[in-house]
Amino acid sequence: MPKMTIPIGPQHPVLKEPLGFLLTVEGERILDSVLRIGYVHRGIERLCQERSYVQNLYLMERVCGICSHVHTTTYCQGVEALLGLEVPPRGLNLRILLCELERIHSHLLWLGVLAENIGLTAVFMYAWRDREIALDIMEELSGGRVAHSANVIGGVRIDMDAEQVHSVLVRLDQLEQLMDAFLGVIRHERSFRARTRNVGHLSAEQVLRYCVVGPVARASGVDVDLRRDAPYAVYDRLHLEVITHDNGDVWARTLVRALETVESLHLCRQLLTGLPDGPTAVRAPRRVPPGEVVSRAEAPRGELFYYIRSDGSEKPARIKIRTPTLTTLITLRDQLRGIHTADVPTVLAGVDLCIACADR
């Protein structure tokens, strides 16, 4: 049978972001693939050398719209370490509360996108409807559904009163009940299992070789989660269960992310019921003393890495961002090899791509 080359993207219905693939296909089977990214490359690492640390806060927020808060969290953590600032406990609690709410919204978003790619449009609609609960909470706290601007260098600029805490707790309970339906679909729905089991398989050895992070690694049996292994902010005071699975296919990743959403709901509850009193931020000077810092956080897609170097001025000398999606992109060539063309949307959705993060 003759080989054909099929281009996918940058504009394609299964892709939410521009990404280029050249698939070499023989009949219905993929033989090989070539990846092209860079459509969303905005040169952020270069741009942030020309702006002050405070201006860069708004730039870091817009590296990615889905995980914007964790980008600013990692950035602020690094700059606060260079400045020697200690964020007050109430500020840290609220910062991590938004991190976990963002994880919930990101995983539900992804569940909807995967379901739509497979053809289960009903799950897409239900997941995004339920995601609105998390977005409403984030909007009430910060004023923005997607870009919150809640972090400032030195803490957070948001606060909550007791009535708000109670109202959020009630809605988190509602969301946890709604998650049962999704877990039921993932575990028992035969057509969902048929589409996602044994598709896009990655072994634990492949995960370690390619330095993959996040739910993709955890679904292949690699037990790593920065929140437990290198606790930052208030994670050392929270009870967290790290979800892993051994299957390594798209189905395992779906289950891991759904269970992580439920775990995030538990974390939010702990953060709200144990919310300490006090200020939410300390004042930060504009000029950062010379030095360098490595800051890491667990974004919804895995380990987010920041390296910041300061030369003593108001503008950073170098900010290096390594986003988790970049590590999963390498694995796509292995995952796509040998599968049917009909499984390509499932595999692409299964790794939870965030090309805006990868390209920066």
Partner: protein, 140 residues
């Protein structure tokens, strides 16, 4: 007579194509949110199409990067006339927060003619529905 029916049909069912030319994804997820139960733009006749050849309105998000420029032009040319372009979000209006980036050309109007500018970072779904409704009135 046929003219009136065609115009009525065009106004009652604008099919959209969404293309991200270099944005952070914030506006894109708000566009997808339009299709979901809370905002539900299908009641306005709006459907998200897969191919440029089926679409009436091109929703652009994100600043135009050098790599995306030619693809955006080609997609615009593939859309059958009459076609409209909506620049959603501050980045596609003017480049937004990425102005001056080494790979960033600026707003979408550097490459294709724009009929409606919707600022916001990200653009809220309510603003998007308002903008689309005004575009439909202007088509009339």
């Amino acid at each position: 007579m046929l003219e009136r029916i065609v115009r009525w049909a065009r106004r009652k069912s604008p099919w959209i194509l969404h293309f991200n030319t270099g944005g952070c994804n914030g506006c894109d997820i708000e566009i997808l949110d339009l299709l979901t139960p809370r905002y539900d733009v299908e009641r306005l006749g709006i459907l998200k199409e897969a191919s440029p050849r089926h679409a009436d309105v091109l929703l652009c998000t994100g600043a135009v990067t050098r790599q995306s420029r030619d693809r955006l032009r080609r997609i615009y040319e593939q859309m059958p006339v009459p076609r409209w372009v909506v620049a959603m979000g501050s980045c596609s209006c003017s480049g937004g927060v990425f102005q001056g980036g080494s790979n960033v050309l600026g707003g979408v109007d550097q490459v294709v003619p724009v009929d409606m500018y919707l600022p916001g970072c990200p653009c809220r779904p309510e603003a998007m529905i308002d903008g689309l409704a005004r575009l439909l009135e202007a088509i009339e």
